[in-house]
Symmetry: C4
Subunit: 244 residues, 4 copies
């Protein structure tokens, strides 16, 4: 029987392999998923499997109710977080936004440092502005009750709530720091979500080094932030080889 999830699992597998290639996590401390809106399922890394033995067929396919649709292994322990985020992204999409179809979680070192210090990342330069025209948010700590309830699902809720409270749009800011934990990033596909996770790590490293030179460093003026965001993401974007 043909595997109807083969392409989705291969896409998720390829994106997962970027985590060790780009040094975004050591051992098994990261995971990427790829979402198929037609079937309302996502393929995600199995829990605790090392990247150097991970095969595309090991990926686990989970639906938006959290039921395993395909795969023999346990899905990532962070599966419930991915699920809540996809559910929210689908909700946003039905309101007219374009879809988000990939999510990446890592423990990349500089992003974790900002998460541990509970600091959002200000827009200190154009590298940041090229990928988001506002600060990268950091959540509050999850409270004890939510942790008791369903920790990983509540991590997803915490991310969604932080975006709502701060009036941020996940289509414009594709990354967040979960306080005391680490980064989550997303994108139009699994590959772009891991790209955003790598951007986040590099932007955090640049911000860390900037703050070491000047603890009171000021963010980039707004007109420069807008310009860099617009030239890549605005209606007249001109970066790259074709319009989106």
């Amino acid at each position: 029987m043909a595997d109807i999830y083969k392409t989705l699992k291969e896409e998720a597998w390829e994106a997962n392999m970027e985590i060790p290639r780009r040094s975004l996590a050591i051992y098994t401390w990261g995971n990427v998923s790829a979402f198929d809106p037609a079937r309302a399922v996502f393929a995600i890394k199995p829990s605790g499997v090392a990247y150097d033995v991970l095969k595309a067929e090991d990926l686990v396919v989970v639906d938006l109710e959290g039921k395993v649709a395909d795969g023999k292994l346990n899905p990532s322990s962070d599966t419930e977080t991915h699920r809540v985020l996809y559910r929210e992204f689908v909700r946003l999409a039905s309101a007219g936004s374009s879809a988000i179809k990939g999510i990446t979680h890592t423990h990349s070192t500089y992003a974790v440092a900002f998460a541990q210090a509970k600091r959002p990342v200000l827009v200190f330069g154009t590298t940041h502005a090229d990928h988001g025209a506002e600060e990268i948010p950091c959540t509050e700590y999850m409270d004890a009750e939510a942790v008791q309830n369903n920790y990983e699902l509540e991590t997803g809720n915490l991310i969604v709530d932080t975006f709502k409270k701060q009036n941020k749009n996940p289509l414009h800011m594709p990354m967040i720091l979960v306080a005391g934990h680490g980064p989550f990033a997303w994108g139009k596909d699994a590959a772009q979500s891991v790209y955003h996770a790598a951007v986040l790590e590099e932007v955090c490293k640049m911000a860390h080094l900037t703050l070491a030179l000047d603890p009171h460093a000021k963010p980039l003026p707004e007109h420069l932030i807008r310009k860099h965001w617009e030239r890549k993401h605005g209606p007249n974007a001109y970066y790259g080889q074709k319009k989106k």
Copy 2:
């Protein structure tokens, strides 16, 4: 004649080779041992032999009285430290604990920095809590008398005493910093001990970068520490592919 220590030496050799692969020490500044409780011996790296010429048959087998049971080379100069720790772990095991069968010593850079600054590593995030629900301890400096006596054996005693004084259980906290020197880590086998040494280095780097952002950074709330420890090590652990 068959080498009854062949498997033990191969396990220790494989774990030793992780030290250069994971950049946990340059040159010969690290060593791993693997313990066989049935024979009450451990295989350890020979002293001062470079990793790129190290072969499994070069490993030295030493018993718990410190006598060389097998091998032509001098064992690591840190052998007495390993011996004292295995003796202590066996003592704990007979009191009902599960066994520790691997020990790793490195001079990994960030862990050494904390050891040189004589600072324990607070639990700033979930990366740390996933591997220990408490701060990573740092010993006091060894006093002049102990140094005169038997330096490497006393290093083992210093580690054991620090755990006793701080009422810590080596099964729950698999790593320590020896003041002014560097890290020791252990685990259920040699591979896990070197894994813990790599975790320690990464956790120290994350803590260092966190403290640079906020010298007064607060540890993670206790309910988050407990949750992360329990989901990997508690009676209902659900991380990975099978229960321990």
Copy 3:
């Protein structure tokens, strides 16, 4: 028909490939161009094309009026900056200076940190003095009007104006930091421009670490700065295998 720009494109391609090799930018965050004074054109990286699929024939040839002379892809979004700089360098050349025929732009991490902190890099040591006998300048932020006008062209003007205001000669100081953005470097050919970009990153890292040890670190005494500059670039230069 023979490609009259083949050699120029190959030179520019080879220099572009140094960006990932020397870790001067991740993904597509850098570009190098090579200038041909006889034809008054330069070959530059196409916009947003990944280095691992970039071929020499993909390079785009642009003339000093900004018209594409050869190539099917869109040139780098930074093309106008390169163009303004080459136009200025040609102007200087006609006043008797030797030509500059290569430009490199990257987002290398430490150079970006100085640019984001809006700090010039003082001459703290001989590594710096070997490549420039004065501080590495940092521009002001571009104002809102210039950004509206033609951002990338104005980035070139900002660089040229900063050199004029500070009375600096681009032949003696082959690098600059654009405030809130990142570094540009140039040289006698494309290869030397990327060499200068790598030097800039290393000098910035050394300066960053020096300032961490002493926030009030003093620059090298003038007699040592002159000596190091002269032994490599003066009329009696004696470094290397032949006089220029």
Copy 4:
């Protein structure tokens, strides 16, 4: 005709190749020499030749009067510094010390940072004490007159004078920082000199990270410094596989 310097040039070449392998300098910013006391000559890297094209036969042989004994290329611009140091080491040897037969100069990043901040490196831990039982010295800046005279020769004199003023023995402290410039290291052969240059870089990185955690970090107690030095270098040294 047989090349009587073949072995010496190969030894120096092999040690030079360690500089890029161990990331002790980028491009051509380092050099190693190997000394032959019988012929009173040393083989040194040619000036400005890239490591990836450097061949053993390119090495230049220079005698203690500074005359090229063999080789077609210009020797390293730092040749006079090496020469002064070998002359001094020979002088010490004739007073009964064992010979030093290799010298390495690099621009390794953390060592340069200490040199640029003009800070000696205190003995913060056993990694340092294993290789020297005292602080790593840093010279003063060279004065303008010495620079005018013969800069590279005077760099050698500055090193020798710093050791004399501080009553240090180059056989016990095999490395130094030249203020505002960078590190020099030496050893019983070329290989050991580059080993000491790598040790210096790692010890400087550890010290830098220690000072970031505690700007007033205290050095290791003397009894621990002595112990680590003695177990590797004392009359009863027991590290490694055989007594010296």
